[in-house]
Amino acid sequence: MAKPKVAFYWCASCGGCEEAVVDLAEDLLKVVDAVDIVLWPVALDFKRKDVEAMKDGAIAVSFINGAVRTEEQEEMVKLLRKKSGLVVAFGSCAHIGGIPGLANFWDRETIFERVYKDVPSVRNPEGIYPQQKTKVDGVELTLPEFYDTVYTLDQVINVDYYLPGCAPPPDLIMNAVTAILEGKLPDKGSVLAPDKSLCDTCPRKDSKPEKLSIKAIRRPHEVIADPEKCFLEEGIICLGPATRSGCGERCINANMPCRGCFGPTKGVRDQGAKMVSAIASILGVEDEDKVTEEEVESLVKQIDDPAGLFYMYSLPASMLRRKRMG
């Protein structure tokens, strides 16, 4: 019997998700043994035309990482959707928008201006920006359109499963691959990670005070965090309570607070809003009756770049989705 065909593809991403596949180490050999990789731009020389030549549904599963922000990416993921039985959104960017998703606080024009003109290492006095069509020596060159908005994968095509994380940890990838090969998959639309939030598995869980109240906000670079204490107890905002677990607590173990790459927990639509709501609830709550409006304001003002902090990974998937277009 022919081995199931598998595709890996990348959109707006950093390459970390490709690394994550390589991080399977010896397990990668098991995967390669069991499947037939038909597309993996970072490693193998298959082309778009090879995919186009396949029958619809010929690929058993496509793992697509990265958010969608260009015309080309949109075309490719739509093509892969057509050719694949299953599509797995692989990693934070495909799942909830990820770091590229922060671009939704701007638009194409401001991004181009920044990247191609204002950045100190760029010299562009004529203000030349990328164009979709350019004539060079009488020949028309084309580039795919760069969108104003960064999209999650499921905002462009139907997605069957999600593998969260920046990047997804090898154990979750292996679990997913095994489940697919053995046909033991959960309900469509599931996130292939535990349902509870990170606090459940946090090594600092037991040291967290029974009654949590934040009196002052501190940013990670302003203090050396106590490696035993809950970050929130120390006033360092940690998105762990609003973030799905399964990451292996990599950041926490490196003494850094959670930034939310695994996205919201099951049933929650807006991870950032949930965390804002939780922080607003516990900020200075112990002396709630005595706190003046001004004190509340100054407490809240201590949170630097709240939108960027609470929606660091999830802006495109949130109810906000993006900054309002002018």
């Binding site: 349902d195 509870k196 939030s197 990170l198 606090c199 459940d200 869980k205 967290k208 005070p209 029974e210 009654k211 949590l212 109240s213 762990g240 309570p241 609003a242 677990s245 919201p264 927990t265 099951k266 049933g267 929650v268 949930k274 965390m275 709501s277 939780a278 609830s281 516990i282 709550v285 112990e286 009756d289």
Partner: protein
């Protein structure tokens, strides 16, 4: 199975009927998926309307009901009962308010109809997501906590205990009896107050179903009417109440002497003491702040003197938990400190005293054994009583100062027949049936009443005191040996802490706020929590006792052992499969209904304590808490319905 929704739009006579095109809405919603029937009715809350609703539910085999009518605060319960009688879980009815929110807010019928349609659409969209809720009840807790052992607290204890209720009396001082125990005679009967209350004190101390905690404070209260859990801190007394017989052998050897607060600073007491002779329970207490031993010195004088081995320096504070159904606050009052008003010279000039200090000088169990003496040990030949001290500043009349000052003037007249007595007043307030007679009597007895309208100023005057009154040139001065101030009555100092623990509100003057000044002057806005006596407002003994009796009566009639108490049905629920134990919710709950299950590592909501406010639901960062009847899906469906 698809839901069968019945939509009923009430015209409320002309109230909605004339302002909203009800029939257009009914026609409009008929075709919507899931809507089995849609009808209008002239008055759904009428007997006829309720019967109609019941027959519709049964006849159309409805699984959901949408009622568009008035505010749910009016008749939702009635309509829910009708659903229940027709065999439909009452929480499967969705009500929407098209009267107060549509018909009554605009004269424009088209606009009112548009909004009413939106609200009905929202309700229809939400209805299929409603879930049946089972009503739960618990047995009421009929025991009662009484805070404060003054006359009001005693009355409440005895009234309740008489009917067999278990009562827990918490008193912060080492003895019960309150202020009255420290007065020699009380108006209008001029009885000996300690004698008057002695039988009550004994009964309270001896009654089996009254548990008295002296030298104790309420530390925490949880729960609500019929089901409170209270924590009482019994402070270490360092003297065993069981072993001590009150012989007093321990006082003499104690090397410490401090000012005695129970004699208003007019006498000294030891670090081991009883507040005054005859205080009950007759068991001393060690004042930890002043005892040498607790300051690290090696002193065992009292321990060595005690013939019964009743002294125990190792005594520790104890926190005791009790379950009660109601709480009666009777924490009493105190007097404004006149030092705040320098014109009276209090605290600076000798022989300027407060009425409470004169009460102690006059009391046979007081510092002078009942002799009224000046600082120099001589009897005063003239006394000025100054009424209304602090009335202007406090902006209320305490209502009892005229009468107790008149009483004191009368006692002084009898005790010091030759002394000149003056009363400086602004307005005489003697409103009760016996009080006017007392005023007339002391006037007859030669007490001179001088209207000063609050302009009194006291200064030193060659060994005597000069009382100046009047503002203009006509201002006169009277020279006296003693000045007795009648300061405004204010709530006792611990009222703020107690109000914080119970979350009860206080009025502008700091007294506990009554639920209704006329109809429920003894109840607070919190169901099952009563405030009686002077903690609710200045009162004399008779009024305080009457209020305490009223509250006790209310408790006896409303809190009957064996009766059930319906719990809030729309409580918050924690999904154990989603709760990660992040503890965000625990501190937030205003009812302290959330605790942590240590074994499971998740939060747990106590259904008996939860009032369904939703604070935890909003705060839960992982969406693990849901409010029954207000789930995320239901709310979203409602919002989407509005937009349809």
């Amino acid at each position: 199975m698809a839901e069968r929704i019945g939509v009923y739009v009430c015209k409320c006579g002309p109230n909605i009927g004339d302002k909203v095109d009800v029939d257009a809405i009914v026609d409009d919603v008929k075709g919507i998926e899931g809507v089995a029937t849609a009808k209008s009715h002239n008055l759904l809350c009428s007997a006829d309307g309720l019967e109609f609703l019941k027959s519709e539910i049964e006849g159309e085999k409805l699984t959901r009901v949408v009622v568009a009518a008035c505010t749910p605060k009016m008749y939702e319960q009635k309509l829910m009962r009708a659903c229940e009688e027709a065999g439909l879980n009452p929480f499967l009815m969705q009500m929407t308010n098209i009267r107060e929110q549509c018909a009554w807010v605009t004269p424009d019928k088209a606009l009112a109809t548009r909004k009413a349609r939106s609200l009905v659409m929202a309700a229809i969209n939400r209805a299929p997501l409603l879930e049946p809720i089972e009503r739960k009840e618990i047995e009421v807790q009929a025991d009662v906590l009484v805070v404060g052992g003054g006359v009001a607290g005693l009355e409440a204890c005895l009234s309740l205990a008489q009917k067999g209720r278990k009562v827990y009396l918490v008193e912060k001082s080492p003895c019960i009896g309150g202020l009255a125990a420290r007065f020699e005679e009380v108006y209008p009967t001029m009885e000996c107050a300690p004698c008057m209350i002695a039988p009550e004190l004994q009964e309270v101390l001896q009654k089996e179903n009254i548990e008295v905690f002296t030298h104790s404070e309420v530390e925490e209260t949880l729960g609500s009417f019929g089901n409170f859990s209270v924590k009482i801190r019994r402070k270490a007394r360092y003297v065993s109440e069981e072993a001590c017989i009150g012989c007093g052998a321990c006082f003499e050897p104690c090397p410490v002497e401090v000012s005695n607060e129970y004699d208003e600073g007019l006498s000294k007491r030891k670090a081991i003491y009883v507040p005054f002779a005859g205080a009950l329970p007759n068991v001393p207490v060690i004042d930890k702040d002043n005892c040498k031993r607790f300051k690290g010195e090696e002193c065992r004088a009292c321990e060595q003197a005690c013939p019964f081995g009743a002294i125990s320096f190792d005594d520790k504070d104890e926190v005791i938990e009790r379950k009660v159904g109601a709480i009666i606050l009777a924490t009493g009052a105190t007097l404004l400190d006149p030092k705040a008003l320098p014109q009276y010279g209090y605290g600076k000039l000798d022989n300027v005293v407060t009425a409470l200090q004169l009460e102690r000088l006059n009391a046979s169990n007081g510092p002078t054994g009942g002799k009224v003496l000046l600082k120099n040990g001589k009897e005063p030949k003239s006394i000025a009583f100054v009424f209304c001290v602090g009335r202007k500043e406090k902006e209320y009349c305490s209502g009892i100062c005229c009468m107790y000052s008149i009483k004191l003037a009368h006692i002084m007249r009898e005790k010091l027949p030759d002394a000149k007595l003056y009363c400086f007043y602004s307005d005489i307030c003697v409103p009760k049936k016996e009080h006017q007679q007392w005023y007339d009597r002391v006037v007859d007895q030669g007490v001179e009443f001088i209207r000063s309208n609050g302009t009194v100023a006291v200064t030193a005057d060659k060994g005597k005191l000069a009382v100046k009154h009047g503002t203009d040139s006509s201002g006169k001065t009277v020279s006296v040996d003693m000045v007795v101030l009648a300061p405004a009555v204010e709530p006792s100092s611990d009222i703020e802490k107690l109000a914080g623990i119970l979350d009860t509100s206080r009025d502008d003057h700091g007294f506990f706020c009554e639920e209704h000044a006329l109809m429920k002057p003894f109840a607070t806005a919190l169901e099952g929590v009563f405030a009686v006596g002077s903690c609710q407002g200045p009162k004399d003994i008779g009024d305080a006792v009457a209020q305490a009796g009223a509250a006790a009566g209310r408790v006896l009639s409303r809190l009957v052992p064996g009766e059930k108490l319906a719990l809030e049905p729309m409580v918050a629920v924690v999904d154990e499969d989603l709760c990660s134990g992040c503890k965000t919710c625990i501190l937030l709950c205003p009812y302290s209904a959330i605790t942590r299950d240590k074994e499971k590592g998740t939060s747990v909501v106590d259904e008996a304590l939860c009032r369904g406010c939703g604070t935890c639901v909003a705060a839960c960062p992982s969406g693990a808490i849901t409010a029954k009847q207000f789930t995320r899906e239901q709310i979203l469906a409602e919002i989407k319905g509005v937009a349809k």
